[in-house]
């Protein structure tokens, strides 16, 4: 099966609908293909894509002079298609994709808040990211808005957000957050419940909006890589890699194989650490502290290994544009290998306990059920998708280097409940250990970085990486001066947050924490 053999069929269907599209320059966002179309066809292309069963993978706008260039990503069989249109700032209106792709809701509202693009037929016109930070009619991502911001005052607290209410006898509202009891990020959850049963959950996020997209403007490549590493701290490797990949593709830079292998080792290290922490934390949320302590210990040992080998517990800033910061010495292998073997042995003891424990099973099985259809409609990836029958992994299906030369196993389970999401994590840990062993055994020789070309002007690129949460899509455009003009990292959390709102249906209020933990979406990666 060759790449993009489905594209001609899609184009034919568009032609049937009298939609005129132009093939973009093949090199523009390679390896993705671009289609350029008129703004009035924006809704139709999404409808046809939805009918064809393509996954919707993100939406971002890029303000250039007096226009906004709007991009939407679609995925099918591991191939990425980027639809591009232009809308004038004087009349920024587009058709909405939300009727066909429910997960488009928040990204469209984000675009509406940040760039002032209005979406027709959007069922939900409420503000999303902006809270009350900027006055009406001011859009921070537009070029006339200063990077330093325009208000020295503190943002007033967000109030009067019109949550949807359910009326009826016995229905009551439970507001939770944005400040929570644990050391976690801020986000507000509004429950409508009858007795203990949840009828509806609505999340209100945006409390950790850091202006990532705006402060990226004007950075050099190294600065952008550092910023990308802080989009979501627990996925720092994946986000940095995605941003670097986008920049390197824009620059047409070839990365030495040794650097790519080291990047993959880092990414797998990050995956293992996060999955270990999550398995323990999920068990802790149902009062099974034993697992929390054991998996917490394993994670801590793992992070200390990271510290001694890579110089940072969370592996921040090891990946830089053009390669990686340092070479891996022979010494590192001697530390890593026994560590992997030890973890493997411990998991052989611990995972069966989690799997067989009847009182855990009682809590986790059938809790937080996300159906396969719902998962597909929302386009969730990573462990969320893999636990609900969505067999997709960027490493295997899209195949970026160095994974394109490896046999990447990816679990795909069907049950869709909390227990299944634990199982996917457990399997991914084992697969990651195998991948790392393989990568370390055949570590290519050669340099670990190449120098960055003098100036990369007016080029753009996308990066696609399977983070531990799922697919990350990063877009970077360089301006004329060779500095970053636009950066948009799309974290998988944009899709797992809406999934949480759906999978909680019919569960009881005290089961929310464990459902939430099993989803473990990033607040920071989503709020940007």
């Amino acid at each position: 099966m060759s790449r993009f053999d489905w594209l001609s069929e899609y184009l034919a269907r568009l032609e049937d609908e009298h939609v005129v599209v132009r093939r973009g320059d093949a090199a523009r966002l390679a390896p993705a293909h671009c289609l350029i179309l008129d703004a009035e066809d924006w809704g139709n292309v999404a409808r046809v894509a939805a009918d064809s069963g393509y996954r919707w993978a993100g939406l971002w706008g890029d303000p250039v002079a007096e226009q906004v260039i709007v991009h939407a990503g679609f995925v099918h069989e591991g191939d990425y298609l980027i639809l591009i249109t232009e809308v004038p700032l004087s009349h920024p209106v587009l058709a909405s994709h939300t009727p066909y792709y429910p997960a488009a809701n928040r990204l469209e509202r984000h675009l509406q808040d940040m760039l002032g693009i209005g979406f027709l037929d959007h069922t939900d016109g409420r503000r999303w990211t902006r809270h009350r930070a900027w006055p009406e009619g001011v859009y921070p991502l537009r070029n006339d808005f200063p990077v330093s911001g325009n208000s020295p005052h503190r943002t007033p607290a967000d109030s009067d957000y019109p949550f949807e209410r359910i009326l009826g006898s016995g229905v009551y509202e439970i507001p939770v957050g944005p400040v929570h009891a644990g050391i976690i990020e801020p986000g507000h959850f509004r429950f409508q419940a009858v007795g203990e049963e949840i009828l509806r959950l609505e999340a209100r996020l945006g409390y950790v909006h850091k202006g990532i997209e705006k402060i990226a403007v004007g950075r050099d490549p190294v600065g952008l890589a550092r910023l990308a590493g802080r989009v979501s701290g627990d996925a720092t490797v994946a986000h940095t890699w995605a941003a670097c990949m986008a920049m390197e593709r824009a620059a047409g830079l070839d990365i030495p194989p040794r650097a790519l292998a080291i990047r993959a080792i880092l990414a797998e290290c990050e995956r293992v650490a996060n999955h270990l922490g999550d398995i323990g934390a999920i068990c802790n949320d149902v009062g099974f502290t034993f697992a929390q302590m054991q998996f917490g210990r394993l994670r801590e040992d793992w992070l200390r290994g990271n510290q001694s080998v890579f110089g940072h517990r969370l592996l921040m800033d090891f990946i830089v544009p053009g390669g990686v910061v340092r070479n891996l010495t022979y010494q590192c292998k001697k530390i890593l290998q026994p560590q992997h073997e030890a973890l493997s042995r411990e998991l052989d003891d611990l995972l069966p306990i989690i799997d067989d424990h009847s009182s855990l099973e009682d809590r986790l099985v059938e809790t937080g059920y996300l159906s396969n259809e719902e998962a597909q409609r929302l386009g969730v990836t990573g462990y969320m998708g893999k636990a609900s029958g969505q067999d997709y992994d960027v490493r295997r299906d899209h195949g970026y280097a160095p994974y394109d030369r490896l046999d990447v196993p990816s679990p795909c389970l069907m049950e869709g409940d909390v227990a299944e999401r634990i199982r996917v994590r457990a399997e991914e840990i084992r697969h990651s250990l195998k991948l790392m062993e393989h990568l370390m055994r055949r570590l290519p020789s050669g340099p670990v970085s190449v120098s960055w070309p003098e100036v990369v002007s007016k080029r753009e690129g996308i990066g696609l990486v399977e983070s531990w949460r799922g697919e990350i899509l990063s877009f970077v455009r360089f301006g004329e001066d060779g500095r970053v003009a636009r950066f948009f990292p799309r974290d998988p959390s944009w899709f797992s947050w809406p999934a949480l709102e759906r999978l909680i249906h019919g569960n009881i209020v005290p089961d929310f924490p464990v459902c939430n933990k099993s989803v473990n979406a990033s607040y920071s990666g989503h709020d940007l």
Binding site: F288, M293, Q294, S359
Partner: protein, 317 residues
């Protein structure tokens, strides 16, 4: 009544207050060891209480006088209930009021004010905790009374001192009715003191809380009293189980030697019970809230079986 008797009753009541944090600390310590942790010192609960008493008590703007008064009422009611359970000796001046009905009543009073205080400030969590507490206790209370009535039937008295005396006087303790009642009371004790698998005393997740949700808004000395009352309740159930079902070691006269021995034996029994609790909390995950009725129905059933087996097997035997 002689003054020594009253003095002893007072000492015993004070001993309850003094020992309650120690039991809590012991259970935490054993749990930590079972999880391969070193754990905090046994005296940590005392230090926590000391810290809380030294802190300022903050109050929500919406709090009424009830919110301020509740910690004192809850603490005193729980303390009085505890003081009625024979600790070292059954031969006390207060023995006359050591009645299970009184104890159940005092505990219900404490719970009533605890739930009211939970709802008083009007936060969602407080109300949620209060409703869950009532839901659990409505099922736990009858089971507890039923279990204790099994004892009362053998001793022909609902007075705990009389029950203990009756047993020490040579009653056969290996009766089927006692085994059932003990099992029932153990389950009730777990539910009533908010332990895993019914409630999780160490959780930070408000949405899953029962007891902790009601005292979320408390701080400073108020929180200290609430915490202390919860520790007292744990000790009360521990002593109830230790002394009524396994009465050996209780001093039958009030000599210093006998009382000393009684204290040592009691501590031993409580340590053992603490270990049992810690082990069960380590190997079990918390139940789904809606499984709590099944859990407490089992307790009720066991207590009822105890009662029945007494009537069928032991009356007239």
């Amino acid at each position: 009544m002689n003054p020594v008797g009253w003095l002893l009753a007072l000492v015993q009541a004070l001993l309850y207050i003094a020992l309650a944090p120690l039991l809590a600390g012991w259970v935490r310590k054993v749990k930590a060891r079972l999880q391969n942790r070193r754990g905090a010192s046994l005296w940590q609960p005392y230090q926590d209480l000391y810290k809380l008493f030294a802190k300022e008590a903050r109050m929500a703007h919406t709090a009424s006088i009830l919110f301020r008064a509740a910690p004192y009422i809850v603490f005193v009611a729980t303390w009085l209930a505890a003081a009625a359970v024979p600790l070292l000796t059954s031969d006390l001046a207060t023995a006359a009021i050591a009645d299970v009905i009184v104890i159940a009543g005092l505990l219900a009073l404490a719970r009533f004010f605890l739930a009211l205080a939970g709802m008083d400030v009007g936060t969602a969590f407080g109300g949620m905790g209060a409703s869950r507490e009532m839901f659990v206790s409505a099922l736990a209370e009858p089971a507890m009374l039923m279990a204790v009535f099994t004892l009362a039937m053998t001793a022909h008295s609902t007075n705990l001192s009389a029950v203990v005396d009756y047993q020490l006087a040579g009653a056969n303790l290996l009766r089927p009715s006692y085994v059932f009642a003990l099992a029932g009371l153990l389950l009730v004790a777990i539910a009533e003191t908010g332990r895993i698998p019914v409630d999780n005393p160490t959780t930070h997740l408000e949405l899953t809380m029962i007891h902790e949700a009601m005292i979320l808004e408390y701080s400073g000395r108020h929180l200290a009293l609430m915490e202390w009352a919860a520790q007292l309740k744990l000790l009360l159930y521990g002593v109830l189980i230790a002394n009524v079902f396994f009465p050996w070691g209780i001093a039958r006269d009030v000599g210093a030697g006998a009382l000393g021995l009684a204290l040592v034996v009691l501590l031993g029994k409580l340590m053992l019970l603490g270990v049992v609790l810690a082990v069960s909390e380590t190997v079990l995950a918390k139940m789904r809230l809606f499984r709590a009725p099944a859990f407490l129905n089992l307790a009720l059933l066991l207590a009822l079986l105890g009662l029945l087996s007494y009537v069928i097997l032991e009356v007239g035997a």
